[in-house]
Symmetry: C2
Subunit: 887 residues, 2 copies
């Protein structure tokens, strides 16, 4: 059997199929598919991707069978169109397009009107009865071909066109006459000869093979290679080439061209939505030089006639086709069509891009219409996209004073105190302040401040500036390039055009969706999570196996997360509670104490406050599990660092500044990330953890006793590296917990587990599991230690690494599956081998990243835990993972 390299399609029959994307490319498969279901598609044929592969395998030689197969297919097209390629009376014109499996920038795109020469032009004139149209098509063809196939610079011919217009004293191409255009054709050809030293090809077959060669050749150009590398597309895939007969929407008033969506891509409403232009080519609709007319009468404003009115037959046909397409593809379609002399041709259909809101509505509607089932509906909404729907937005009813406007770089609406440096942002955040980081521009050195801030405002830079890119990556609100403000770092203030001055500490509001900067705190509303969204999420919950918890440290966060569907708290950090103004003094007193008794005395002051915190959180999470991590950061984080602050605080505390300074110095660490923190504090100062366990258990006991709660507190010991650490900490916690339980005389079940956030803990998880009721993988720290990469310092090279593709992603955003993930996998296996019923979860920020959630599903974790606003994203990602893996 001879290899088949060419697939014909036309008049309801196609040799290819829709599922042959690998062989025919996306475009070719789609054309075959549309043809097969009886849509009017201009006939043509596809040269397969195998031709491309063979071409490069054989030193840029085509397979010997190709020529014959192309001629045969061309003959079929000629026969269907009743035209002949290269014929002077009745010429067939074709388009040549590339079409890889996935659309790929950098590839040669399109050559139209191929087949025109000084002979065939006569036929076109005769048939169209429009000499101007014919010569305009001819000169366009030469321009396009010379540029993309012959490699001539576009401006060389463009200049000649401009000269001609100047000479004629006209502004628009359309004002040139047929004779002018005919002259242009001749001038163009001369210029080609002059520039390239060879004639513009007159022979249509030579033109065709030239165009085909150009498509295959572009597969290996630099831009395409780079794009493939960035997107992990193997060079072996190759591209296909589509040759299709031309149809014209610009051959008179019985011609037209248009684009449409089968539903509203912005709202998702089930209304056909599109525009068209009479006597025009596709590019005219997009270019915006003429105002397009509505397709449906109801969608116009009455100033321009609709297609429904001027071409009722084609309109009726189009309505039928769009329904056929939706039924066939079971999805909202984005279509292009052309009407040539009253006959409708479909040029393209594809799944239409849509906003997140539209995606949800379309998915839910289609289930109700019986087009798709709930599973497919769930898969129709991308988890990454969902984020758009979940950010708070400004309360539309709230008054506001807009003081400046920049680019809407990353969505969300936030307010906070203005700070002008990343360090200030971090410090403020550490003590629980909400801040907006205001910078002329941001750089990698500012990453830690961006992390800490609610939102970012920059004076310079566009939508792809550092601030914009990083903020979007972090899911943080950002207004970039706000030229309306002048920042003065020295004075720690910025000034608006109106002369309003905002100093450090002043409150502003950012709207990342509009780019507006407002004075003061404008109230926000939480997103509406009812209606279609709620319905979809119900299906989501039906299909997922993975549970989704949240990382929340306050009752407020817990409440928001619960509304977003969180099924418990996976990580409640207790250190933020230590920074509260009322408590920090007691914390410092504890740190400065010389002995256990002194520390106990100070801790006793904190105990009732911590208990109150836990009660608040338990109440919000009533009936759901809450994992509380005991104190984690090194103690020096609670002490002032700068001399002025030391002086000030020493006075407030009534301690010698020298004493305080000595303590600060003795606690200094070279690498605090790897220092005296986590359970190492619990081991050396057991009284701290004792107090915390007491607070947790008393909170639980009191709620059970007084409010009839059911609650199972989960006490989490951080930074365990060796089972003995956990053994000791567990014994201490059990002692304290049982003492509280006995004192209150209520029955409380509680769990004690650990973070797995050090490689050693994962490597020895079988040992660690003997002392743990649960593991929570702390993938933030695990990423830091596995890569040997400080998140706070990585700004100097990590963006470079990601940009240069040394790392495929920021590993703090998307879990590194090969390295960090391997440890997580190992930790799960070893943990379960020692304790089959151990509860396994993840509480790093990866818990809200869809790719990472998929990984967590695949390795069989019980739950992921993420920030409140990511909870629905994680739920959806978990459902996708379950549906795609089939388990």
């Amino acid at each position: 059997m001879t290899a088949k390299y060419v697939y014909f399609f036309g008049e309801g029959k196609a040799e290819g199929r829709g599922d042959m994307k690998n062989l025919l490319g996306g475009k070719g498969a789609n054309l075959a598919d549309m043809t097969s279901i009886g849509l009017p598609v201009p006939p043509g044929f596809t040269l397969t991707t195998e031709v491309c592969t063979e071409f490069y395998k054989n030193n840029r030689q085509y397979p010997s069978e190709l020529k014959g197969q192309v001629e045969e297919a061309l003959a079929q097209v000629e026969s269907l169109m009743n035209k002949k390629f290269g014929d002077a009376q009745n010429p067939l014109l074709v388009s040549v397009r590339s079409g890889a499996r996935a659309s790929m920038p950098g590839m040669m795109d399109t050559v139209l009107n191929l087949g025109l020469n000084d002979d065939t032009i006569q036929g076109v004139i005769a048939q169209s009865g429009d000499k101007r149209f014919a010569y305009d098509s001819y000169r366009r063809f030469i321009q396009m071909y010379a540029n993309v196939v012959m490699g001539m610079k576009g401006e060389l011919l463009e200049d000649i066109l401009e000269e001609m217009k100047e000479e004629k004293g006209v502004h628009e191409d359309t004002e040139l006459s047929a004779e002018d255009l005919k002259k242009l054709v001749a001038l163009f050809k001369d210029k080609v000869k002059e520039t390239l030293g060879r004639d513009f090809p007159n022979d249509p077959h030579e033109q065709l093979w030239g165009a085909i060669g150009a498509v295959f050749g572009s597969w290996m150009n630099q831009r395409a290679i780079t794009y493939r590398k960035l997107n992990n597309i193997p060079a072996e895939w190759g591209t296909a080439v589509n040759v299709q007969s031309m149809v014209f929407g610009n051959m008179g008033d019985d011609c037209a061209t248009g684009v449409a969506f089968t539903r509203n891509p912005s709202t998702g409403e089930h209304v056909f939505y599109g525009e068209f232009l009479v006597n025009a080519q596709g590019e005219d609709v997009v270019a915006g030089t003429r105002t397009p007319q509505p397709i449906k009468k109801s969608q116009g404003d009455g100033t321009l006639p609709s297609m429904e009115e001027v071409m009722p037959e084609s309109y009726a046909q189009l309505m039928k086709i769009q329904q056929t397409l939706e039924t066939h593809y079971q999805d909202m379609q984005d279509i292009e069509f052309t009407i040539e002399k009253g006959k409708l041709y479909m040029l393209q259909t594809r799944n239409g891009k849509r906003t997140a809101g539209a995606a949800v509505k379309i998915a839910v509607d289609m289930v109700q219409e019986g087009l798709i089932d709930e599973k497919i509906a769930v898969l129709r909404v991308e988890p990454t996209q969902l984020d758009q729907l979940l950010h708070p937005s400004l309360d539309p009813k709230a008054p506001r004073t807009v003081v400046a406007k920049g680019l809407p770089a990353s969505p969300g609406a936030v307010n906070g105190e203005v700070v002008f440096s990343a360090d200030d942002a971090e410090e403020a955040a550490r003590i629980g302040l909400k801040v907006i980081l205001v910078r002329i521009e941001t750089s990698p050195e500012d990453i830690h401040g961006m992390h800490a801030a609610q939102g970012i405002l920059t004076a310079r830079g566009g939508m792809t500036s550092h601030a914009a890119v990083v903020a979007r990556g972090m899911g943080k609100c950002c207004v970039a390039g706000c030229g309306d403000i002048k920042i003065d770092y020295a004075k720690q203030q910025f000034t608006t055009r109106d002369g309003k001055v905002f100093k450090k500490g002043d409150v502003i509001t950012l709207d990342g969706a509009t780019g507006e900067v407002m004075q003061g705190a404008v109230p926000t509303v939480t997103p509406q999570l009812t209606g279609d969204f709620a319905r979809l999420m119900k299906w989501v919950d039906k299909f997922r196996r993975l549970r989704v918890r949240t990382n929340a440290d306050t009752p407020q966060d817990s409440k928001v997360a619960r509304e977003f569907g969180a099924e418990g708290i996976g990580l409640c950090r207790t250190e933020h509670m230590f920074f509260d103004a009322e408590r920090i003094m007691a914390v410092r007193e504890m740190i400065l104490a010389d002995d256990v008794d002194g520390r106990r005395k100070a801790l006793a002051k904190i105990l009732p406050m911590q208990k109150g915190d836990f009660k608040g959180i338990f109440r919000e999470m009533k009936g759901l599990p809450v994992t509380i991590r005991l104190l984690d950061p090194p103690l020096h984080e609670f002490l002032p660092q700068k001399d002025e602050e030391i002086e000030e605080i020493s006075q407030v505390m009534g301690v010698h500044a020298a004493t305080l300074k000595a303590k600060v110095e003795s606690l200094h660490e070279f690498n605090p990330m790897l220092g005296h923190r986590g359970c190492r504090l619990g081991i050396t100062y057991p009284e701290i953890y004792d107090m915390q366990v007491q607070a947790i258990m008393e909170a639980a006991c009191e709620l059970i006793k007084e409010e009839g709660f059911e609650i199972v507190p989960e006490i989490m010991i951080p930074l365990v590296g060796h089972v003995k650490e956990l053994e000791i900490m567990r014994a201490n916690a059990v002692r304290v917990a049982d003492e509280v339980i006995e004192r209150y005389g209520v029955a409380v079940t509680y769990l004690i587990g650990t973070m797995i956030e050090l490689p050693r803990a994962a490597l020895t998880a079988d040992e660690v599991a003997t002392q743990a009721d649960f593991f929570s993988f702390g993938t933030n720290d695990l990423t830091q230690t596995t890569f040997g990469l400080s998140r706070d310092d990585a700004g100097k090279f990590l963006p470079f690494y990601v940009e240069k593709d040394i790392l495929p992603n920021d590993p703090f955003v998307t879990l590194d599956q090969k390295g960090v993930g391997e440890l997580v996998r190992m930790g799960c296996e070893k943990g379960r081998s020692a304790r089959p019923d151990i509860k396994l979860g993840i509480c790093g920020e990866h818990g809200g990243d869809p790719q990472s959630v998929t990984f967590c599903h695949d390795i069989g974790l019980d739950y992921v835990s993420c920030s409140p606003y990511r909870v629905p994203v994680a739920r959806l990602a978990a459902a996708h993972a379950a549906l795609k893996s089939g388990k």
Copy 2:
């Protein structure tokens, strides 16, 4: 078959054997063994460790068979000794001793003279003809028994003894008469009754079972439990009990007792060496109240008669026995004997402890004597012990001025400039200065300074002070508790008793073997590595499979290491070369440069110097492999940190202080260990590595061309976490190297590999191996990242962890096999799976730790690399590992 719980030994016959240590304990097996080979051992029997196990299994009940078996064995002893237990005329007295597999502090040790009561004492008086001896034995028995078996405080009876001596007006026990002692016996018994409310047992069988019960009971006392926990001894092992007939060296002038070594334990000389006392008990020899007499005439100074002279027959018998013992045990023995009425009894023999020098000599001698083979000789010297022989000592011919003397806390002889803080020590070491850290005491905060210093001198603290313990752990010279000096931190000086003042920067010398502190630098001599040592090391090299390289950065270190048998350099760090005074300015210029060209210009100044360094090292290592690690530390390490220094250096460099300060600030890192260092520098500033590769390759080419060298440079890329980093760095290095090779026109083979020092590198070693000719496991950093533990900061809790047995060892000294080791193992397997011929080594400090070397052998590494002075230790450890594993 009934279980056998009791094993008899006596008169050349024993039911047990020497290899039954698990069943009979060390002592029991040894007594059986000596009996079997015909040595005169007082007969007795052993209750097995199984009795102990059963005892605890059955709620502290003995197996029912025990009583009968003990009685039977006792009867055999009675028959041999021709005495009867509890008989008033001819009583048998016995000792009862514990005996676990390994000797164990905390266990009940010994009860002597058991069987004495008011009846049997008469028989002893009659038989010995010495009433005083008899009552002295009786009162000693009561004291011992009341204390260790009945649990009475020792001082209660001791006080009565003291009162009696006071009453009699005498000073020594020996001055009390038989009647006094008889009275004491009565008083002791009364006191026991009064204190414990029960009679001292009169029945010898009750005494015996009481003593046996006390031994088994002591197995579960707190000290024994703690000791077992610390030493990983399972409680199931249990202890045995040995019951043996008493013999007396203090029954007259035909009695004696002595201890001896079959060879000199200090020098290893093949000369029998021992002391004895006539009419004495064993404890008298050890207590030192009487001056012991020599056993051999030739060993005395003539003032006291030797055993050879006064007991020629027993002497001759002893000489024969010691030879039998050496032949039997094929090792130098430490023996105890007693002569009762002219009859020699052997009480104990065991392998004698010896100095490192003696161990080497004895091992070599015994091979020459045909006693042992070379393999056993190699196993006879402990790798940990070898260290003693390898440190430099003071040149005996060199003049010296001793200014103070402290405790010889850790061996070695070193000199350096005095510094008074750990930070100063570290800073000085960083720029290549040799310093002595002088502190009143050290604390965990000083660890980094101790690491950096040549030696440590403290004014306070003993042999087990922090400084002493840590210094020995580090193998660092230390003189501790030197009360002769007064340290004044404020003035940065110390003063000796003679009023000599030493300021910061003054040079002193320490001798860790004598505790002497000397003024100035006293020359040292490297240890003699010839003679027996050389012979032994030749065998060592014959049996080991693992290669041993060294970590050396200078030609001098390389030379020393080669003399110690290093087979190449496993780690040559290049950063120290950057600190050289001539170069640091160029390095800073490079760091301050704004662009690549500026950096290249500065690097060009360093190039010739680096080339010179490498040539020097290559020359010393002629014919051996040299692995050079490219620049590793973060750049801020090369800049001044304090304001004064910045000011000073800015003037020298002609740069604005503000510019310099801004750079210092911009390079500041929160966690430099996890920061912008290693290949991350190479990725962002490729010109640095390019210069280094050029220097390495030019050095190699010139030596090959000019001096006909054979050399295969191994270029090592540090801190790789992802294969792409190595891919890029490798490509750069190859480009530069090949350019140099072409320029010189010589053929050079070179290898490019990487450190595996991040968990991710180990986890993805199969990928990394595709770009690496070799792996060198950097277990220092790998330990830091796997544990999430900064070595610089761990001082605050790591000593506590080791002390409290949370970690079995300091993981920076002995490789953590379960965690870090698991990554090393994984790295090896994955590395080899991708590249079977990949060279694998280790270059962390663990490379010189015997336990870790064993691990490296077991997992199949090709080599270990360690500091020069540890090379012989590693060679010996490698041989041990090979011989013990049999592969």
